[in-house]
Symmetry: D2
Subunit: 383 residues, 4 copies
Amino acid sequence: MKLRLGMIGGGQGAFIGAVHRIAARIDDQYELVCGAFSSDPAKAKASGIALGLNEDRIYGSYKELIEKEKQLPEDERVQVISIVTPNHVHFEPAKLALENGFNVVLDKPMTFSLAEAKELKKVVESGGKQFCLTHTYTGYPMVKEAKQLVKSGKLGKIRKVYVEYPQGWLSTFLEGEDNKQASWRTDPGKSGIAGAMGDIGTHAFNLAEYVSGLSVTQLCADINIVVEGRKLDDDGAVLLKFDNGASGVLMATQIAAGEENNVKVRVYGEKGGLEWQQVDANSLVVKWSDKPAEIWRTGGGYTSSFAQHNTRTPSGHPEGYLEAFANLYRNFALTVKAGLEGKQPEPEWLDFPGVEEGVRGMAFTENVIASGKSDQKWTPFTI
Amino acid sequence: MKLRLGMIGGGQGAFIGAVHRIAARIDDQYELVCGAFSSDPAKAKASGIALGLNEDRIYGSYKELIEKEKQLPEDERVQVISIVTPNHVHFEPAKLALENGFNVVLDKPMTFSLAEAKELKKVVESGGKQFCLTHTYTGYPMVKEAKQLVKSGKLGKIRKVYVEYPQGWLSTFLEGEDNKQASWRTDPGKSGIAGAMGDIGTHAFNLAEYVSGLSVTQLCADINIVVEGRKLDDDGAVLLKFDNGASGVLMATQIAAGEENNVKVRVYGEKGGLEWQQVDANSLVVKWSDKPAEIWRTGGGYTSSFAQHNTRTPSGHPEGYLEAFANLYRNFALTVKAGLEGKQPEPEWLDFPGVEEGVRGMAFTENVIASGKSDQKWTPFTI
Amino acid sequence: MKLRLGMIGGGQGAFIGAVHRIAARIDDQYELVCGAFSSDPAKAKASGIALGLNEDRIYGSYKELIEKEKQLPEDERVQVISIVTPNHVHFEPAKLALENGFNVVLDKPMTFSLAEAKELKKVVESGGKQFCLTHTYTGYPMVKEAKQLVKSGKLGKIRKVYVEYPQGWLSTFLEGEDNKQASWRTDPGKSGIAGAMGDIGTHAFNLAEYVSGLSVTQLCADINIVVEGRKLDDDGAVLLKFDNGASGVLMATQIAAGEENNVKVRVYGEKGGLEWQQVDANSLVVKWSDKPAEIWRTGGGYTSSFAQHNTRTPSGHPEGYLEAFANLYRNFALTVKAGLEGKQPEPEWLDFPGVEEGVRGMAFTENVIASGKSDQKWTPFTI
Amino acid sequence: MKLRLGMIGGGQGAFIGAVHRIAARIDDQYELVCGAFSSDPAKAKASGIALGLNEDRIYGSYKELIEKEKQLPEDERVQVISIVTPNHVHFEPAKLALENGFNVVLDKPMTFSLAEAKELKKVVESGGKQFCLTHTYTGYPMVKEAKQLVKSGKLGKIRKVYVEYPQGWLSTFLEGEDNKQASWRTDPGKSGIAGAMGDIGTHAFNLAEYVSGLSVTQLCADINIVVEGRKLDDDGAVLLKFDNGASGVLMATQIAAGEENNVKVRVYGEKGGLEWQQVDANSLVVKWSDKPAEIWRTGGGYTSSFAQHNTRTPSGHPEGYLEAFANLYRNFALTVKAGLEGKQPEPEWLDFPGVEEGVRGMAFTENVIASGKSDQKWTPFTI
């Protein structure tokens, strides 16, 4: 049984919408049935037709989509709605979809502001619908393995976390050159109060908390606008304190010229440490105080059920970003279906980011920007 | 417009069939409409139902599939048939499908014997249908880039080719332990005259010829059965001579304990060399005599149209094995559709392995096994 | 002509003393003629004898060494004195040696306190003798290449600097286990006010300033004692501001369990970035916004005179830590000899760390510890 | 106590002579006392003076050196003679030195021909003097660790050996450009019957036998002269059979444009494999069938006494080619001294290549060249 999928945003030319669709297709758990792909009606229609949708289910707005789909018979009606619009159009459609009984997949960061995030959390918790926030990197098998390894206690109590997300694509004033991606991401009206911190800092933050199993309690940020004329931060570094007393560093930048997207996390406990980076996504390097470092690999027979459940091919055949993304979609589908069938989802299925991660991500954004402006060293992590 | 896809083989529990289906789904160019998934009718049916097919298009045999589909109206009838059976069931269904007007995607090696391969080549060339042989590794963007770099002449005349495919999974007598994959791959009745050489040696051979643009003219092989009781070769190394005078080495083994599937190719010309390996699939290392080595990356703005056409995500977000496989499927679809629309396919679309590569692959298998048994050093590469 | 070398500290069982002696031997520019190897007379004597010294030039104290050597004829007298004692015995012997007309090589950090460092600077500047502070990592050919690349302007204006020095060896309370290295390095009476920050933080700081050509103007530090019972910091992370407006992060820790000594620096300018790490010391990775990353290698014909001058073997034969150390010694010798011969030293010879770096290193230590205790975010870098 | 060292060859401008001298200096076990550095008297003298020798111990020929030194009092006379001349001047001076009671260090390959090698072996075995052949790569701590790991049986019975030595420096006709190194190495009158096979093939061969603990019994070679006008082979690949039934491949080339000197060996047993390469000389990658791969590191507390004995610096501070070379010199010195003192040398000291390795190396050269010319597949490895 495939879940009926609808999409808000992601029309022709969009990057992340196409990624969501591939992710949804890979494991054949969804069938795209409807969409409101653009606020431009002609583009919305053309996008839907190109995707093979029936014209009567190509909508001109997310409101129309939700309203009309709701009127369809239950066995025809969309079941999961993916929202892939810029940040300022996250909250309203997500809220409306959830309130009207649809499960929602939402691109990160969850909302435009923390206030919205907290409200959306209430909506999710008070409704009975499932919600997934696409922090892609937690979908990688070896990131899941890293989390399980920390959780197992084998590294001992965690003491130090380093996480970094270096990009170079905004090294120049790209938003002045009619670049769609650059334009909205550097526009406070569309992105919110943060640029790099919201776009990639939240990914790094989520990855650090996900793998370490810890929660940030204080932070101290150096937030910069490096490229002249830019309106939002394009660079930052943050000192972190965690709830178990560990400390950490988060680095996220979009002006590291020559860098691609090599997000990387390192976590050290009393007995050993681990290291994962996207450029070598199928390896988890585990280091020990007293024995040789180990390279744990996607598909290895020794990996946990969490890694294995999220692996498709034999060891050595690399799985990448789209498969990580697909893992979010697949686990979300398995969870939604379990609900429909009145079954208990497996722990491995439930391992996708949700509204809690979304609220913490927005809190990170607001706290980090506040800290950046403060003369005080430590800013408490408040929600 | 999606192409209507059928599948022969690939029932529940099969590995490569599932890979083909994911590959076909990723770019949304196909819709699976029918299948003959197993010679076991119950399994065939269960497999088809699990894939969401209508029961009347789940067939009990490939013959039935071809016969019945042929009778369907042209706009409903399957257009592309994927054949993912063990090697001894490649030739007959492929021939029948082609002769009945269907386009064919066939898993490698092309056939059970060179004689079959040559006959299938005639069938393909005399019909008007398209044919794709899934030598996956040529679908990687950086493998395509490697080929284009050689072709550009920047490395100078090619002098040396090293290619290797080390695996360790057959280090023990796995076929004695009820392992489906091991059983048929080590069974002369299903695999043909070669084990490792046919299974992965042909991949290495194809990769070497694809990237270098050269053709092997002579070879000298050391072919071994290392694990006691095994019936087919599980290890081999081959000295190569190419048509431009270059020499090379091919190593393929299934008993390199601890190795995954790190197929790797290195090509050296007068001025520089290149190196690609699956474990770091999105990098192409280019080495020069007189300047620093370079790391060309999937998604790099400086890559050729062949690489860019086969890339989905921004640089730094790894694409993997399934995406490489999907590139074959997508390029095949674009080519088939161009034919349907009476258009000329782009050179980038036509860059998928076909019947010529299939014949050469089978010739490699037969020549390499013959050489392995010969006391003479060089065996001419005969077809 | 070899320079006559004496050593203070570095008796049997010492680590860094032996390293200094190897470094001095590699290029045959020195002959060890005398030493005051230990405050324990028996050990001092045994050490000297084991090193093949004449007994009359094995001294019981650094004061005796300086006094007695001064009385020897000029063509017999020691010319260069290496001081390899713990930090609290740096200033006095260095000052005395310089004031008595000897050239000095001093292990880092320069002194026990900033005040001492500033005084020593005066001594150096007012005397006519040469002084080298052994910040080893600046001796690596590819670190020198990195500096030259930045200096060339090819990366554009520098915007971001990341430097890190992760160690794991102090993950446990090693100073409680009769470990000589751990004991003095964690003892405030011997190390000074800082542990990790003084021991390896100063190396990272020096490397960042050396490669970037920039000077830190402000810093914000998170300084931790992680291991219970320890008296000095064993972990820290520091946000940095540089004099050209660039920002940076410095991470130094001794509790990253499983880490060896992989000091690493990354510098990004407007057009590209570079990355060097000790684990792959003979490679300098240079990344560009618009073309493939490059791997510059020790011994490459395309490297600068600064790299080539500090390279001994053909490309591909790795040079390591001892060779980097030896480069300091060799350049110091060439400079001292030039002085003796009344010649102008080459710029490549003068490229070794000296008193200025020493003062800045001690200022780093004091400022970083002060910042660690402060509630204020930014601490100005004061000397 | 330092051993008194003399040198034959290695005058100004020579590469390997300087390397030998650094290697001898690093561990302070030798004092250079005499030399016959060149057949050109002026150059010989200038070289000796530059090295600080007394003029009366700078000799005009190796014969003079041996004759004159022999007449010196025993406690003044040279004890170890290093011979670093081109291949055609190996046998005579080595034989003469040994026959006159001197210990000998000889650069590889041992001699100009196998016949000479066998004769030299007799000389060594009938005299009481020590002999070391500088197959540098066996001096690396992690190569020693690899040998010990194989020997421990943990990998199971060895089945496959891959060894390669790719260089690119002879990609052009360098010997036509007044390049000293290229000239003698490509000159049959100085190098012998082999070029690449003698120069680097023997290194690869030695490394394969050393690490695997096996002996080659048959080989099948493809030997090429790639660059037009060259007189000796500059490229080759060899299929190998070992005495325990294992097979292997050896690749050595000097025309792999862009390659430095990344000699690499891989050995696979029934349960796992290992991989070492010079570019990452301080890591030994150990792969297992059923658990994560491990990275064993120079200086790791878990390494064998053979690795630890040959390590100078703490883990993470790379040791390189010169240190590997120095390990040969140091172990040789410890062995010679043990002899002088009537003590039994430790097994770790005796682990340096000698006359047996030299004979096998020359046999490899002659057999491989013979095989290259033969139409027969397998050539028995005859001595």
